[in-house]
Amino acid sequence: MASTIRVRATSSGETTEVQALIQHPMDSGFVKDSKGELIPAHFIQQLTFEHDGKKVFTADWGGGVSKDPYVKFAFKGAKKGDELKISWVDNKGATDTTTAKIQ
């Protein structure tokens, strides 16, 4: 299984623009399946981006965020070739981590 996280970080001198796509069902817990049973809640609770051991972006999510979420943000203080560490943890305790080089 490939990583659930896709990242692209590009530096334009001062700022670094980060885009990420995460594969996750993000079930809210309010949706019924074809048999009429509730699909239990299953969503990412926290997503963090770390640069140089420092958190540069944190998202506290709930069931309202859509399936396979996409995130885009920019931050200052990184340069080309630096590493970015991305990780998420969901309400069932599952987690995934990946690192990406800033281009």
Binding site: A2, R6, R8, Q19, L21, Q23, S66, K67, D68, Y70
Partner: protein, 288 residues
Amino acid sequence: MKLRSAIFLASAAIALAALTLAGAPPLAANDKVDPAADAKAFQKFFRDKFPKVKFEDFVNGPYSMDEDLYRQWQEKEQFPPYEFSLEMGKEMFSKPFKNGKTYADCFPNGGIGIRQNYPYFDEKEGKVITLELALNRCREANGEPPYSYVKDEMAALTAYMAFTSRGKPMDIKIPNDPRALAAYENGKEYFYTRRGQLNFSCATCHVQSPGERIRAEVLAPALGIVNAMPIYRSEWSGMGTTSRRFTTCNSQIRAVPLSPQDDEYRNVEYYLSYVSNGLPISGPGARP
């Protein structure tokens, strides 16, 4: 003013359809099946209707019709939503079956870069074979259960096969066989026949009104619509195959959909692919 031009275009579309209606006196020009002339007229109709749209852009569906959508899509394409499915398809395609054979053994050129030749008319069987049908037959021939025609695995496989054929012009052949011409004609008839509670035909939306809104959606032109299959639709929050598009279109006009890969659906795909000949394969696509 829009309405008047829509009515005018509707009549143009009906004239374009040139259907030989049952019971109508046969017209000399209309009772001969001439796919090449159809394709030419079909493509000319869209070029005239949308003079600003580049020919190869028609495969981008609603994005070719609306500048703002186009920009949003360009941004989305940097991180395409079909990526996960594409990767799954690539993995599945190379994974051998239990008997050691792979999908590559079922297809010419190992299944790579051949999407533009499907659907084709099989002269032995006397029917149209679509890529989805060929894939499931390949599985069954190798002792594997067939996949659902509408999404998930089937969409992933066709996404990968389309991806390896990107940019190649659609190249559908109609052999000089009365059964092939009949299949083509049957597909064309299905495309232009009104049905369902809303009394819409496929052409009502996709020939008469591309670029118009239907609720919040922008309608795609029929020209090149199959070139982008399979698609990730945000509305579905997932992938869908050509079969899925046909069945959902039918239920949206409150008609009873056929089963995926029924004769008529395969014939419609044959017709639509043929009249889109020359347009590049752009699948897998993303749609709003």
